[in-house]
């Protein structure tokens, strides 16, 4: 069992590996978490997620751009793959379940991918339907996975028009499901008009809004 000092040192090194998009080091450090008997849940929250939070700050301050962000996410996932099998069921299920996709007619998926990454980093169970997703598919998959939240992304004024129909169809099937929307042409006002439960302007805010929605 590692000392608290040693544990902190490893967790800090995991954060740095995520921020420095060093996939191999991140994977190795997460293996050492297991070898040293450190709580894997703590390594996910303080190490990997902590690292991704710093990455989010670097992105907001325009030190990092999309290429860096995507590689940081790869490092995070490499570490997560090592730790995930060792998380207890109650750790894994501590956040909600989320279904995410880019709406029909739209292939802009970089923003949606960043949103997914932030949810994964925060420990959500994420089902990603990809881009150009038809209305019926959202409805079917929500039913199958029984997610708490459906997250819809649109980057074009043309494709965002599909949102009210998707929201209507989802609520008709399951009035309890919450819908979060986002993407460049959306706004709080449009989200409300479309009947969404929440709107988020960016990936970090999306996780916060979703957490608020499921209380």
């Amino acid at each position: 069992m590692a000392s608290e000092e040693k544990t902190r040192e490893i967790l800090k090194a995991i954060q740095d590996a995520v921020v420095g998009y060093d996939e191999e080091t991140c994977e190795r450090l997460c293996s050492s978490v297991l070898e040293e008997g450190i709580d894997p849940h703590r390594a996910v929250v303080e190490g990997l997620t902590g690292g991704m939070e710093r990455v989010g700050e670097l992105y907001n301050s325009q030190e990092y751009f999309v290429p860096e962000l995507l590689l940081c996410a790869d490092a995070l996932n490499a570490g997560l793959n090592v730790l995930k099998p060792h998380l207890k069921i109650e750790d894994a299920a501590r956040k909600g379940k989320l279904l995410i996709g880019v709406v029909e007619g739209d292939i802009h998926d970089i923003g949606k991918n960043l949103v997914r990454i932030m949810f994964e980093a925060a420990g959500w169970d994420v089902y990603d339907l990809g881009n150009n997703v038809k209305i019926e598919r959202f409805v079917e998959e929500q039913k199958k996975a029984n997610t708490d939240i459906v997250a819809l992304s649109a980057l074009m004024t043309t494709s965002m028009l599909a949102m009210p129909k998707i929201i209507g169809a989802l609520k008709a099937q399951n009035p309890g499901v919450k819908v979060l929307v986002g993407g460049a042409p959306l706004s709080q006002e449009i989200a409300q008009r479309y009947g969404a439960d929440a709107y988020a302007p960016d990936a970090v805010a999306a996780v916060k809004r979703a957490a608020d929605l499921i209380g």
């Binding site: 325009q62 999309v66 007619g105 292939i107 998926d109 970089i110 004024t157 028009l161």
Partner: protein, 357 residues
């Protein structure tokens, strides 16, 4: 449609801008091949599949809204993912407004090695674009050649996400893809020049994947900018003079290095999105014709009054730009824009866009 006091034909208006003279009024240009189809009661896919119908739809829209086709902006001549062997399909259904990529030609590093250069006269949509070019020629319009920047083309051959990762981890693969994109573009351009004559060609380029919503200004300088320089060396060598550059999306951080030594022949038409302030653009590119930048989302979702007001304030900012100004949407005119909103832009020019005789 003619405006109240038109003193010039559309061609004269654009020519006067290229000669640094004030036209009779601020010209209006739109990237609107798909909107024009809807406007004529045709499905959006026609913009990609039927040059005849698309051409006449664009001609009707230009006349209806008094647009100056500077140039007539058609769908892409070079369709990146499709030309290099990817699976791309036409738009269908209620919400699709553009081509849909089903699979990219480059999925792995080894695919970059095996990438084959497309045939410049046969691949993708080149046949359709050439037929459109012939119609433009027959109607006395400049023949448009539409492509994206080599950086954007390359990113659409392997998918932007993969390309972004390679920028950092495998920059040599990005270089190879950009070189292939560049060579292909000029193979087609040479075919265009042989077919139509260099003097008739108007080149249109857009650069969405270089926006600072995606990459940093350093990445722009290192990867994208060198190809802009090469591009214009080759355009000059081919004898092509007219160039329209749509600097797509948020590119404020890229402007300083682009403005440092703008490689195109002046004046070029530089069109900006609503993300870039017109005054900033004019200061950075004093020898060029600035074009823009009404927010497309507002044209689609706003009221006619709102669009009219936005067009008025945009005209106020742009009209006095010394290198010349064209009023336009900040990117492609959304397919679903209401007709009254599009007309509101024309009305604003008729009410506030005139220059003294």
């Amino acid at each position: 449609m003619k405006l109240k006091q038109d003193r010039m034909s559309s061609a004269e208006r654009i020519d006067s801008l290229f000669n640094y003279r004030r036209p009779d009024h601020v010209p209006i240009t739109m990237i609107a091949p798909t909107f024009s189809c809807r406007n004529a009661g045709l499905p959006v896919r026609v913009a990609y599949s039927d040059p005849q119908l698309n051409f006449y739809a664009m001609q009707w829209a230009a006349e209806q809204y008094a647009w100056d086709q500077a140039p007539q902006i058609v769908r892409h001549t070079v369709v990146e993912a499709m030309d290099f062997g990817g699976d791309v399909r036409l738009p269908e259904g209620e919400y699709e407004g553009a081509l849909m990529v089903k699979s990219y030609p480059v999925k792995s590093e080894s695919d970059v090695e095996g990438l084959k250069m497309p045939e410049p006269d046969k691949t993708g949509m080149i046949g359709i674009a050439a037929e459109l070019g012939r119609l433009q020629e027959a109607h006395g319009l400049p023949v448009t050649f539409v492509s994206r920047s080599p950086f954007t083309i390359a990113s659409n051959v392997c998918g932007l996400q993969q390309f972004c990762k390679w920028l950092i981890k495998k920059p040599e693969l990005c270089e190879r893809l950009m070189k292939a994109a560049f060579d292909h573009t000029f193979n087609v351009l040479r075919y265009w020049a042989d077919t139509f004559g260099a003097e008739k060609i108007f080149v249109f380029m857009s650069s969405p994947s270089e926006s600072n919503q995606v990459i940093s200004p350093k990445q722009f300088e290192k990867f994208a900018l060198p190809y802009h320089l090469l591009y214009h060396e080759r355009l000059k060598a081919l004898g092509i003079k007219r160039f329209y550059f749509h600097v797509c999306g948020e590119q404020n951080l890229n402007l300083p290095s682009l403005a440092d030594a703008p490689p195109w022949e002046h004046p070029a038409i530089l069109s900006f999105g609503h993300e870039v302030d017109l005054e900033t653009a004019a200061q950075r590119f004093p020898k060029d014709i600035i074009c823009g930048n009404i927010e497309p989302a507002i044209i689609q979702t706003g009221s006619p009054q709102q669009v009219y007001e936005l067009a008025r304030t945009t005209l106020e900012k742009g009209k006095g730009i010394p290198g010349g100004f064209i009023l336009s949407a900040g990117c492609e005119l959304p397919v679903a824009s209401p007709a009254a909103n599009v007309f509101a832009i024309t009305k604003a020019v008729d009410d506030f866009g005139w220059y003294a005789e």
